[in-house]
Symmetry: C2
Subunit: 372 residues, 2 copies
């Protein structure tokens, strides 16, 4: 068991049992694990292993190889990169095992090492660390402190888990709940209900505003019941376009493709997309009402005005959905809340209330004197 995996294991057990688990480790590993536990689990320091191959810059290649041959049994994680440190553990350079192995034996390490080393700082978030790996295609990245002293290395196999875990967390948040943190079938029933009930209740509270909004238009509904028929169709379309927009923006943020300063560019783009999508759905809605009417005159003499009301409302609601869905993740990030909280259900709830107002306002505008 390597120290970084042992530390993960210790972190997974409860406070009281930790001591007994730590007691099972040999002295050196125990010391190393203790040092790793001082880091947050999702920081670079919490991912790293303190066992790496190190040499001095003034060694000859042959000397370094002989030294590594002795070290290597216990340095198993990291044999493909060798780190060159000065006497105060500061990182001077890196040389791959292969380069060392194929260099002339009498050259100095300092002359074969690369000094342009990609590093991460010990308290950097694991998402940032994962991005560094992806951008540089590396097998291991050294973790340094503020004085550039080498504290450990993160290897790419741990990053696969990080990327997978972060995606799972984001996906569950996007589904309108808290991240479970454990595999589905191994999550207790009570725990799972709690992770879901909080958000579901919050969304329900938000959605209660739709009842309040609808109550404001009770008179209009009483006069033209036909208006009520299209309420689910219209508000769900806004929610759907909002879910698309927020999902795209949240994922692009997680991948580092969007920065906070891109918000205006994104918002303009989503508004334009929303208008186009709204025109598509509005046309479909218009045709649906006129087609039904042509077969059986269910919508009465004012069917054209009704069809136009539905069509214009759809343009407004879908465009507003895209706008709100793209803006909300930027807003949450500015407030230092995880943008993945701007889930489809959350955006839909916001858009539903506004959608009702847009729909009934359009109806009052277009149908006053006829249906209303």
């Amino acid at each position: 068991l390597h120290p970084d995996d042992a530390a993960d294991l210790v972190q997974a057990v409860d406070g009281e049992r930790r001591e007994s688990v730590l007691a099972l480790l040999d002295e050196r590993t125990g010391r190393e694990v203790g040092a790793l536990l001082s880091y947050a689990e999702d920081a670079a320091g919490g991912l790293m292993s303190p066992r790496y191959a190190r040499v001095r810059p003034e060694m000859a290649v042959a000397e370094a190889v002989a030294y590594l041959r002795r070290q290597t049994r216990e340095q198993s994680e990291t044999v493909y990169y060798v780190f060159v440190l000065d006497e105060s553990q500061r990182l001077l350079g890196v040389v791959s095992f292969r380069e060392l192995f194929t260099s002339p034996p009498d050259r100095l390490v300092r002359d074969v090492m690369q000094t342009d080393v990609v590093t991460v700082v010990e308290d950097q978030d694991q998402e940032v660390v994962a991005r560094v790996f992806r951008e540089h295609g590396l097998l291991a990245v050294p973790v340094v402190d503020a004085e550039r002293r080498l504290k450990g290395i993160v290897t790419v196999d741990d990053i696969v888990d990080v990327v997978q875990e972060e995606a799972t967390e984001d996906i569950q948040k996007l589904g309108g709940m808290e991240a479970l943190g454990t595999p589905y079938l191994r999550s207790g029933f009570g725990r799972m209900v709690r992770k879901r009930a909080g958000w579901l209740a919050a969304l329900f509270l938000g959605e209660m505003l739709t009842a309040t909004a609808m109550a404001r238009y009770e008179g209009e509904i009483a006069r033209a019941v036909v208006l009520a028929l299209f309420v689910p169709l219209i508000i769900s379309s806004g929610g759907n376009s909002g879910a698309q927009a927020s999902t795209l923006v949240i994922r692009a943020m997680a991948l580092g493709e969007l920065r906070q300063r891109d918000w205006w560019r994104v918002v303009r783009r989503e508004l334009a997309t929303g208008v186009v999508l709204g025109v598509v759905l509005g046309t479909m809605g218009f045709l649906r009402i006129e087609a039904w009417q042509a077969m059986r005159p269910v919508y009465g003499e004012h069917h054209l005005a009704l069809a136009l009301t539905v069509a214009f409302s759809l343009v407004g609601v879908v465009a507003f959905g895209s706008l709100a869905g793209s803006l909300l993740p930027f807003l949450l990030r500015a407030l230092r809340v995880d943008p993945a909280s701007a889930s489809g259900p959350f955006v839909a709830t916001l858009v539903d209330v506004t959608g009702l107002v847009i729909y009934f306002s359009t109806a009052i505008l277009l149908l006053s004197g006829s249906l209303l």
Copy 2:
């Protein structure tokens, strides 16, 4: 440029320009890239590099090391594992560079190699390959054909990209659209509209059924307009619980935590969760109506029957949402459709129609003779 990266590049350009890109490569790389292009981009064969370090089992360790030292300049991807092959390229075993390096020089490779090698087959899907890496914590996995001949190796740094891409695809599908396939800001406007319009229009068509369902209850709404006020609240709650359930199930499937035979266990669990969540929301709905009524008598003399109608409907709708959301991914997978298509918006659309039927049926049952 390694052959696997060169192949990715060639795959990214259009058919006609491929020839000219291929012509830029040296003869050996060109031949290797040609072989890689015959594999699907998302199969093990499409990810692998044909450049790996190989030795024969009957070599002495010293001989193998000397041989690798000559090979190693061009085998840069794979220097940490050395593959042991027989004369027909069949994979016999593996030995890490470190083991070879620290073994007595006169022992035979066959005596220091491990024969228990984790492999993947050339046409296996990249999701399966990623799972093998995660389960075994490996740096590279050999790719073999049906006769166990070594075709190439997949390295873990390519898997980080695979995991990230697969998660992005799933997230975008879960957001109710097609996967973009390109970074958000680099996706053309027309392309993005197309990827979104298809699903949005399909969802709109499905949601049109709500207008049909509502029309069936037009008489009830005309008699008790107050019923219309709670329509968005009730159907959105079903959609939200459905989105939670489908998201959890789809992600657990992608991680390999849920198999097809687990469906019954999951469905029972989700139904139980749905009932509990429904009772929570039903209670909140009941209290909301009674609290408003206590402040101002907006709901008339039959407020209690109305509150009970809303409460019971919520239990039914939320439980049905969880049930449908958990069942649908299993159904899609049985039909060989990507379960991630069972997005929140898709489940919500299904649940909306049923939700209306549940709500108005409950209303007719509880309110006949009073409000209706």
